[in-house]
């Protein structure tokens, strides 16, 4: 204990010097912790982006997009055996259908307005699967209940909130679809207006409603992890052959974002090591100076019975305490200044063209959808497939990056203290070893 206590007290022998050294080490460590925080933030964001878009594939009819464009619906047997692939977690078929009401007894502008009001995007969803929306994202239930397996084949629907509002529908109301009444069991809302205008049917109900027995318009495939996406695409293409396209939702976008983020992480990594090296050098030279100043004292300590171990522990502890004091200053600097600067820096990084290129904001999704909805005269969704597909992933990435937060956490504190401990031990080691080599007779002779 006495060696530790003495080491601790020795730090305060020259308060001015300790203050200056603590400030210098603190500056270096605050820069280091800023780099660590940025790295963590980037890693979190990247993980979020990967989690949100990275591992989902789509199987679509050749040349079509969500039931639009060229191509025929797919037969369910396309999926046979695919679930046995080791990298596939889940396969979820859907039916995407554009419902256009038949208007009898109306004509001219009145008929067009009624069609516009009643038309809907229909999604046939396997019960217990998320309420996927064509164009990206998932709708969440706001009222009522979700589909259960028992609902498959039953005349029940979940209606988007905007569609329900426009057509005065509530939970428990009946919805007329091709002269068949469906009971509304829930209302759902998504990230954009298009989601809110979607009507969801149980998958088998949709198959029956639109005469698509044993068929689907596409299927979502969830892969276990991002690195397996590419090989899974290859395996699926081999298995399915010419029957369908296998498309990765946001592969290219994700790659671009990942490259940019990797670049940022590389920079923070260099900054971190520079900061650590600077802090280490400050500790090293301070301890070297300390040892040289106290040569005679070291000689005296040896003369009165100090072992090399006692000296080593004393100097190492002094160095560690100095480093930890620097770390405390570093934390204060980070919390007061560094965190703000790091957040601003991160915001700038996120808004750089390298990161945002190709990433479409949720507003853009809505704009695209609005354009689609307004294009009735030329056919719904015509030519919009590729844009919407890109937007679906892009909107998600952009919203993830928009939430970047550079915060001080317990993990960061632990890492900072570990770095300070390491710096203290390494920075103090060589000077302490130098102290051990001093011969008491030589240093005392110089008095």
């Amino acid at each position: 204990m006495h060696n530790l206590r003495r080491g601790f007290r020795n730090v305060w022998r020259s308060k001015v010097r300790t203050a200056i050294v603590a400030l210098l080490v603190g500056l270096a460590l605050s820069l280091g912790v800023t780099m660590m925080a940025l790295d963590s933030a980037v890693a979190d964001q990247l993980a979020g982006v990967e989690a949100s878009v990275g591992t989902e594939l789509e199987i679509r009819p050749v040349g079509s997009f969500g039931g639009f464009g060229r191509g025929e619906p797919l037969f369910m047997d396309v999926l046979n055996g695919l679930e046995d692939m080791p990298t596939i977690v889940e396969i979820s078929p859907v039916i995407v259908y554009q419902y256009m009401p038949k208007m009898s007894g109306l004509g001219g502008r009145e008929a067009i307005e009624e069609v516009m009001r009643q038309r809907m995007a229909v999604m046939g969803i396997v019960p217990e699967q998320p309420l996927r929306v064509f164009g990206g994202g998932v709708a969440e239930l706001t009222e009522g209940r979700l589909f259960t397996p028992e609902d498959n084949g039953s005349l029940v629907v979940i209606v988007g909130t905007e569609y329900a509002e426009q057509n005065d529908l509530v939970v428990g109301s009946m919805l007329l679809l091709d002269e068949t009444e469906y009971e509304i069991i829930g209302l759902a809302e998504g990230e954009h207006r298009f989601a809110n205008s979607t009507v969801f049917l149980p998958f088998q109900t949709a198959q029956l409603a639109f005469a698509m027995e044993d068929q689907m318009t596409q299927a979502y495939v969830t892969v276990d992890m991002l690195p397996n996406v590419e090989p899974t695409i290859a395996m699926l293409r081999d298995a399915i052959g010419e029957q369908a396209d296998v498309v990765s939702q946001a592969e290219a976008t994700l790659e671009r974002v990942a490259q940019s983020m990797d670049m940022v992480r590389g920079t923070t990594s260099v900054g971190l090591w520079l900061a650590i090296a600077t802090g280490g050098l400050v500790i090293f030279f301070t301890m070297l100076l300390t040892v040289r100043e106290r040569q005679k004292e070291i000689g005296v300590l040896k003369a009165i019975g100090s072992s090399n171990g006692d000296l080593l522990v004393g100097f190492a502890w002094e160095s560690v305490v100095l480093s930890v004091v620097g770390a405390v200053v570093g934390i204060i600097l980070f919390v007061t200044v560094g965190q703000f600067l790091a957040s601003r820096l991160m915001a700038n990084i996120v808004s750089t063209p390298a990161v945002t290129q190709g990433v479409v904001t949720p507003g853009a999704v809505e704009g695209v959808v609005g354009q689609i909805r307004g294009g009735g005269g030329r056919g719904l969704f015509s030519g919009a497939g590729s844009i919407a597909g890109f937007s679906m992933a892009g909107g998600s990435i952009s919203s993830q990056l928009g939430d970047v937060a550079v915060n001080f956490s317990a993990g960061l504190l632990a890492r900072l203290l570990a770095v300070a401990l390491g710096l203290g031990l390494l920075g103090g080691l060589l000077p302490a070893l130098y102290a051990l080599r001093l011969r008491p007779a030589e240093v005392l002779r110089n008095e």
Binding site: H2, N3, R6, R9, N10, W12, R13, K296, E297, V300, L301, K302, A303, I304, G305, S306, S307, N308, D310, R439, P440, A441, L444, R445, E447
Partner: protein, 229 residues
């Protein structure tokens, strides 16, 4: 009478800028136990070198050293540290107290290095032996006079109850009155505590107070004066 310190044919050579300097030349000296001894001689005659070799702070180039019967010339560095800690107390001309420790903490240091229990009690006893007033125990060195600092240094030397106390010009920085008090204290340690005390001094008046004086000249013992009754 047993010898507390025995030097047999001890030489110490230094290499200075390629030249060999013989600081000690085939020195033979025996200092019996419980004797107050002095080493005198002009500057550069080898007094401090001999004292350092006696205390195991330096190693001889040739010869044998026995301290309390232990062959210091044969001991490893670790053994030497352990024996030095147990057998020898050092007192220096400029006191060499640790500046950020109080008087009593300075005395506790050798006890802590020796992993002794109850260091505070033993340190108090040593300070009492060194006649430092209790009111000064918690003062730091820069709050003490030279004489008081040297008393603390002597108490520190006594901490592990060594057989031998080696003092390099312990009165060198003190006025004559205080110096005489310190010499009287060291003398009492010999008489009452049966310590073997060896001091280096330039003062003939102090040397005559000691029982044995080794007069050094050019690395050799020119003359030994034995005043033991």
């Amino acid at each position: 009478m047993n010898n507390a310190i025995e030097l047999k044919n001890v030489s110490k050579l230094y290499s200075v800028k390629g030249n060999i300097v013989e600081a000690l030349q085939k020195v033979d000296l025996s200092i019996p136990s419980a004797v107050f001894a002095s080493i005198v001689g002009p500057s550069g005659s080898g007094k401090t070198t001999m004292l350092n070799i006696m205390g195991g702070l330096d190693r001889p180039s040739k010869g044998e050293i026995y301290l309390a019967g232990q062959p210091f010339h044969k001991l490893s560095e670790t053994e030497l540290v352990a024996h030095r800690r147990r057998l020898i107390g050092f007192v220096f001309q400029s006191y060499n107290l640790i500046p950020n420790l109080s008087a009593i903490e300075n005395v506790e240091l050798p006890l802590e290095f020796a992993r002794s229990g109850n260091t505070r009690q033993r340190a108090l006893a040593c300070l009492e032996m060194a006649e430092l007033p209790t009111s000064r125990h918690k003062h730091r060195p820069n709050q003490l006079s030279g004489g008081e600092q040297q008393r603390v240094a002597i108490a520190r030397a006594l901490a592990n109850d060594p057989a031998v106390i080696l003092a390099d010009e312990p009165t060198g920085n003190l006025d004559s009155k205080t110096g005489n008090q310190i010499i009287a204290l060291l003398k009492r340690l010999t008489e009452q505590e049966k310590k073997t005390v060896v001091i280096i001094t330039h003062s003939p008046s102090i040397a005559v107070e000691t029982m044995l004086t080794a007069e050094m000249l050019d690395g050799t013992i020119d003359r030994t004066v034995n005043r033991q009754k």
